[in-house]
Structures are given as structure tokens and as C-alpha cells.
Point group: C2
Chain length 298, copies 2
């Protein structure tokens, strides 16, 4: 039975009882919770789920329903967002295809729009317009700028009403490859350094391929952070991005304090990065006992 | 059906036709060849095999038979050795136990001794004497010093004749945990640097736990090498050893040119090292999609 991954990002990372309630709603029978990461400064939680398409659809509808408790007018956080359930990507796992992920996203979108009177944008592989592929473009301006943006032709949603839901905003649903969300905490209280490092590493300003990055301030930890989305670890791994940031940070006398993974990464990404770190001349995947056992097994 | 890993090291790394013939002998029906790594300077090849105990026993007997083509009196290489088939470790894989590996080693030892008139030493978990646990101790003095060593009480083999086989020497058979063989090539022609770095990293001279290391000269590549055996990557990973060597090498103005894996490593070792390289605060194993899928699967 083909499984999909589903990684809803919700705009609540402080009231952990609320997050738990939403996680329960999102995991009916047939949906497994693989990971739950909450961040108080981002004020955001990332659920990593796996299940068959039908079970995930049921879980997502229940999640949107339960997320009515989030009022974006009261929400603050350093991460960009336009919705209470901000973004819902479906990801093919081994045994499923991108087509299935796209189909599931496109099934969910009109249901959410109708049931919850919520504007829905389709993105990445599920997008119906080229300017809807990239998430940052859809989300630019945030919840605060959403009403105005929606009045422009570029802001018309794929489904649902032509104005934001008063408390839940809008939502973005789509299908994509594995994304690795990875944060680099800097030993500095100067968020300007984090912003400059983000600019130097992100693809859109001439940095590394398939990298998105933001410099943000973490009040709860008293340090600046470069928050990264690696859209394709085969193009740029977290380790490559980290090394770039370390080298640039060193030039201004700042060190990396720690890093954190938000959600999960595929095993292949980990193995690839180990090979990179070890300076091996050949891909480490070829040097893994379990892989060779699987390849040679009957 | 429980599989064991078996990693025979043979004293031939130049005549690749001979190596191939030996690899064929070692892999009767039921034995899979997972990896074969040959090195001309070490003049040694490492076969990584997997199979059930009985199939591996048959393969090893055929390997010892085929290895009669190796004449240690004509053999030179930078790696220590006492036998044509120098060492045969059995390693439990998922689904098998160290006890099964020990049993298999102890079954093979007397058969090899009788059939090939070869002195056999049992080592590590299969050892019957405490001074036989560590391989370097058994192998000290090499083939050239073997006859003399065997005349001392400490040199009496566990099975077989009391003097070396004239062309095949002796052999060491045992059971152990996964060992990672990892070589660090230095950008220097000074083997003295490699020897000092090996001394600084190996456990027996006060370096890192569960690390064995030798500094050797690679004539074919014109550079010095630190050749490492990581006996327990959970204590010291290849990456930790590499970083230690890099830091020490930097102090004498030498850089690391490349590294190489001899044989295979467990997936868990790769994932652990990726987490280490990424400066993550928690074990990366908990952040791998496939692991979480397996853990939450029915």
C-alpha cells in the first residue's frame, strides 16, 4: 500500500496543549505521527505524518477544523505565515509517486475551501499557475498583507473566497520532494549578521542552489538564527549550507552555536552528508552494509 | 534465517586476477559478495561477505584452498600480516548474535588447521586466551617473525601445527563487532608524519578509544597514509578520528588529501556521523524518516 508523507505547518508553537490537540486531530486511524517539532520564537509547529492518501485527507480535514482555535490576529512569530494551518505539503515516500501526492493535494484543496470558507493556494508540483510554484511568493506579505494582496489579480486563490478568513487567513496546499528544514543558531545577538548570512546562502540572492534562508531573532534564546529550507539535499545538503554559513560567519568573527533539524530527513541525505564530512572520494551509499545487503538479497 | 557477515582479509592486492579467483572461491551458493577492496601498497584485499553460517564455512574452506597460490615468502606490502588468508572475522548482522559468530569461528578453526596444515589462532570474542583477544598482539612480528614467535609459549596456536606453513604462514579466525577500516591520505611524502599522527590517534598510545592506527607509505600514490581500524564507531567514529588527525596534521602544516573506506560501514555509523558533522544537539537517528516509519509501522 503506497504511503505518502504529509507535513502540515501550523501557526502555533507556544501553547503546547493546543499543539497536542491539533496533532491528535491530524492523526486518525491510519495516520502515523513521525515527528512533531514546535518552536516558540517561530511560534510554529511542524507535524510529520505518514499514511495512505485517504487517511491523510481525513486527518487534514480534522486538523483544519481543530485549528479554528488559532486566531492569526493575535499571532506573532518570526516565521512568515498566512494561515492558521499555514502550509500542507504531500511528499511521495518509497512506494508512492509525485503524481499521487499531487492528486491528494488537489483533492484536499477544494474540500478545505468549501468546508472552512478558506482561500486555498496550490503550490509546487500541485500548482496550476507558474507563479504559484514557489511558496515564498505566495506567502509574501504575510497574514497582515493578505487582504490587500488578494485584491490584486496575482492574489486570487485557486479555491475558496476572494478574501482572507478573518481568523484563519488562508492556506497553501501542495506536493513536493523531501524538504529539509534546518536551523543554524549563531553565537551573536545581532540579527543583522543572521540576515546577511541568510542572504549569502540563499539561492535567490546568488547563494547555493535549492536553498531558502531567513535571518531571524530568537528572543527565548537570546541569539540570532539562520533558518534554512533545503529544497533538494541532492543539490545542496544541510552540511554544505552549514559550512558556507560557518565560513561566512567566521569572516565577521561569529561562530555557530548549534543547529537543529525541524522535522525529519531521508536516510539517504544523512548517508550522503556523512560521506561529504568524511572526504570520501566515492558516494558513501555504496559503502553501507544494509544497502548492499538489500541490493544483493533475493 | 540469521545471516552473518564474514570479512576475510587476504594477502594479495596486486594480482587482481588472483583476487577475483579467490573471491569466486569464497562465494559459493548462499554467500553474497557485498564488497571487495584491493590495495596495491598494502598488497591486501578485503572481502565483505554475507550468508548463513554453513554457506560461509564452505566458502571459507574454498578460499583457504584457493589461497595456496599466495606465497608469503614472495609477499611484500605495508600492512602487517602473518597469513595468505590473514584474518577471518565473523560479525553478527541484524537477526544473528555474537554467540553465533563465535560458534561459526570455532567451527572453522579446526577444519582449516586439519585440512591445510595451518596454524590457527582464535581472536576477539572467539579467543580462548585473554592474550589472544587483540589482533595486533597475535600478528606482531609478521610472517617474517612467525617461526621464532611460535617457538615461545605465547606463540602456540589454538589449532594446527606448531610451526608456520612454509608458504601460507598462519591464520587468525574470530568473531567481532563491526569494524570500520578507514584510511586517511596525507598531502606529504614524509611517512614520519603519518607515523606520528597514527601514534597520536591510536588508543594504545593514549589517543582515542577503540582506535588502531598505522602510518604507512603508499609508493603507488606517492604519499603517506594513516591507516585506521575503528573497532567501535560508537566510541570513536571515523569522523572523530579524521578530525583529530586533521587538527594534529595542521599543526605540522600537512593537509589531508583524501580518505577511503576499506569495505563497508553500518548505516547507523553513517547517520551518527552526519549528526556529528551537522552539530545537531540530538542523535540524528531520531530524525530519519525511514527509521521513524519502521518504528511506527505495524
Amino acid at each position: 500500500v503506497p504511503l505518502l508523507e504529509c507535513v502540515p505547518n501550523i501557526s502555533e508553537g507556544r501553547r503546547l496543549d493546543v499543539v497536542e490537540r491539533l496533532a491528535r486531530a491530524a492523526t486518525p486511524a491510519g495516520v502515523r505521527l513521525l515527528d512533531l517539532t514546535s518552536d516558540p520564537d517561530h511560534n510554529r509547529s511542524v507535524l510529520t505524518l505518514a499514511g495512505e492518501a485517504d487517511a491523510l485527507l481525513a486527518g487534514m480535514l480534522a486538523l483544519f477544523e481543530a485549528a479554528a482555535v488559532i486566531d492569526l490576529r493575535q499571532h506573532s512569530g518570526v516565521h512568515p505565515r498566512i494561515g492558521a494551518v499555514d502550509v500542507v505539503p504531500f511528499v511521495p515516500l518509497a512506494g508512492s509517486t509525485m503524481d499521487e501526492a499531487v492528486t491528494t493535494a488537489r483533492q484536499l484543496a477544494p474540500l478545505v475551501a468549501e468546508r472552512f470558507a478558506l482561500p486555498v493556494y496550490l503550490y509546487e508540483h500541485a500548482a496550476r499557475r507558474d507563479d504559484r510554484r514557489a511558496l515564498p511568493q505566495i506567502r509574501r506579505g504575510g497574514f497582515e498583507g493578505l487582504a490587500e494582496k488578494m485584491r490584486s489579480p496575482g492574489g486570487v486563490p485557486d479555491f475558496g473566497p476572494a478574501q482572507p478568513h478573518p481568523t484563519s487567513g488562508a492556506t497553501v496546499i501542495g506536493a513536493r520532494f523531501f524538504l529539509i528544514a534546518f536551523n543554524v543558531l549563531l553565537a551573536t545577538a545581532d540579527v543583522g549578521v543572521a540576515r546577511r548570512l541568510a542572504r549569502s546562502v540563499r539561492e535567490s540572492s546568488g547563494g547555493l542552489p535549492a536553498v531558502r534562508a531567513l535571518g531571524v531573532w530568537l528572543a527565548s534564546r537570546g541569539c540570532a538564527q539562520v533558518s534554512l529550507n533545503l529544497l533538494d539535499y541532492r543539490q545542496t545538503s544541510p552540511l554544505t549550507a552549514l559550512r558556507h554559513i560557518q565560513a561566512e560567519a567566521e569572516r565577521v568573527g561569529v561562530t555557530v552555536r548549534a543547529t537543529e533539524l525541524v522535522g525529519l530527513m531521508p536516510e539517504d541525505a544523512a548517508v550522503t552528508q556523512a560521506g561529504e564530512a568524511l572526504l570520501l572520494g566515492r558516494p558513501l551509499t555504496a559503502g553501507i552494509i544494509e544497502k548492499r545487503l538489500a541490493e544483493t538479497g533475493r
